[in-house]
């Protein structure tokens, strides 16, 4: 009974971890703006966490540079299951204007399963909120 309450309440308060893999800071700023009072994503119980070990949703930005690839995959493996990986912007999905470069390992879905992808360069904060709401639904399904 106690576990049921915990799993139910866990769905209502997913913790978010922001992973930057060589992003230009555009998507990062838009992601930070949804935590500000204007868009206030804490209405959905979301809280930004500093450690991947407590995260439920991982938001990946950046084109996955060769320097950050091993570290990024290490961090993603530290996130406990069930987790939802959200790719933000064009870079983690395809490499954007950097694709074909010797130092870019994009797309991200070569290495991990990406559940939700938000297009845009950078996406509008409203679009990120839509993506995170979708991620919460997927998290609910994964928890059963």
């Amino acid at each position: 009974m106690f576990d049921d309450i915990i799993t139910k309440s866990k769905v209502k308060s997913p913790w978010l971890y922001h992973l930057n893999t060589g992003s230009c800071n555009g998507c990062d700023i838009e992601l930070i703006s949804i935590l500000t009072p204007r868009y206030d994503v804490e209405r959905f119980g979301i809280k930004l966490t500093g450690t991947p070990r407590q995260a439920d949703i991982v938001v990946v930005t950046g084109p996955l540079t060769s320097q950050s690839k091993d570290r990024a995959l290490k961090v993603l493996s530290q996130v406990p299951d069930p987790k939802v990986v959200v790719s933000l912007g064009s870079c983690p999905m395809s490499g954007n204007v950097f694709k074909g470069s010797y130092s870019i390992e994009a797309p991200l879905d070569r290495f991990v399963d990406v559940d939700v992808s938000v297009a845009g360069c950078p996406p509008k904060p409203e679009a990120i909120i839509d993506g995170i709401i979708k991620a919460i639904e997927i998290l609910k399904d994964k928890r059963g």
């Binding site: 009072p37 204007r38 868009y39 206030d40 209405r43 064009s90 999905m93 395809s94 490499g95 954007n96 204007v97 694709k99 879905d109 559940d115 939700v116 992808s117 938000v118 297009a119 845009g120 360069c121 996406p123 509008k124 409203e126 679009a127 909120i129 839509d130 993506g131 709401i133 979708k134 997927i138």
Partner: protein
């Protein structure tokens, strides 16, 4: 003693919160926002200018075999690698590409974010018999000289 922000503090007690209630209250993007690409295959002439100016190489054109009717041409705009710079729309001579104000582009599958369209490019009509005869006459005349 002074209370410099006492007026503001009192006002904020009765004012609404500044948070936008986004998913409940829908929000329009500002005019001129560069969002999802809309492509009109009726207007397209397959000149390939958009492919030339696209810096991330997000646009691809596939050409089919030539028939009597024409040639099937399919354009694909991959929004996964788009930078939304609007260069394709600016350079399109027929205005077939437009960037709409639709900003919400969420997908669980990557292929959902591909905008595509196809049309049949008509082959220019064959020259008439009269012109062929004229050209023959010209070649004979030049040969006799």
């Amino acid at each position: 003693m002074k209370f410099p922000y006492a007026g503001n503090a009192l006002k904020d007690f009765f004012s609404k919160p500044s948070t936008e209630r986004y998913p409940k209250v829908k929000k329009e993007a500002p005019k001129g926002y560069r969002g999802k690409i809309s492509y009109d295959p009726e207007k397209c002439i397959a000149c390939g200018m958009c492919i030339r100016v696209c810096s991330p190489g997000a646009i691809t054109m596939t050409k089919g075999e030539k028939n009597d009717e024409g040639q099937l041409i399919e354009m694909k705009f991959n929004l996964n690698s788009c930078t939304f710079c609007q260069m394709c729309a600016d350079f399109c001579p027929r205005g077939a590409i437009k960037l709409t104000t639709q900003y919400s582009m969420i997908a669980t599958d990557k292929n959902e974010l591909v905008v595509s369209g196809s049309f049949i490019k008509k082959i220019p009509p064959k020259p008439t018999v009269k012109t062929v005869q004229q050209s023959k006459a010209k070649t004979e005349a030049s040969g006799s000289k």
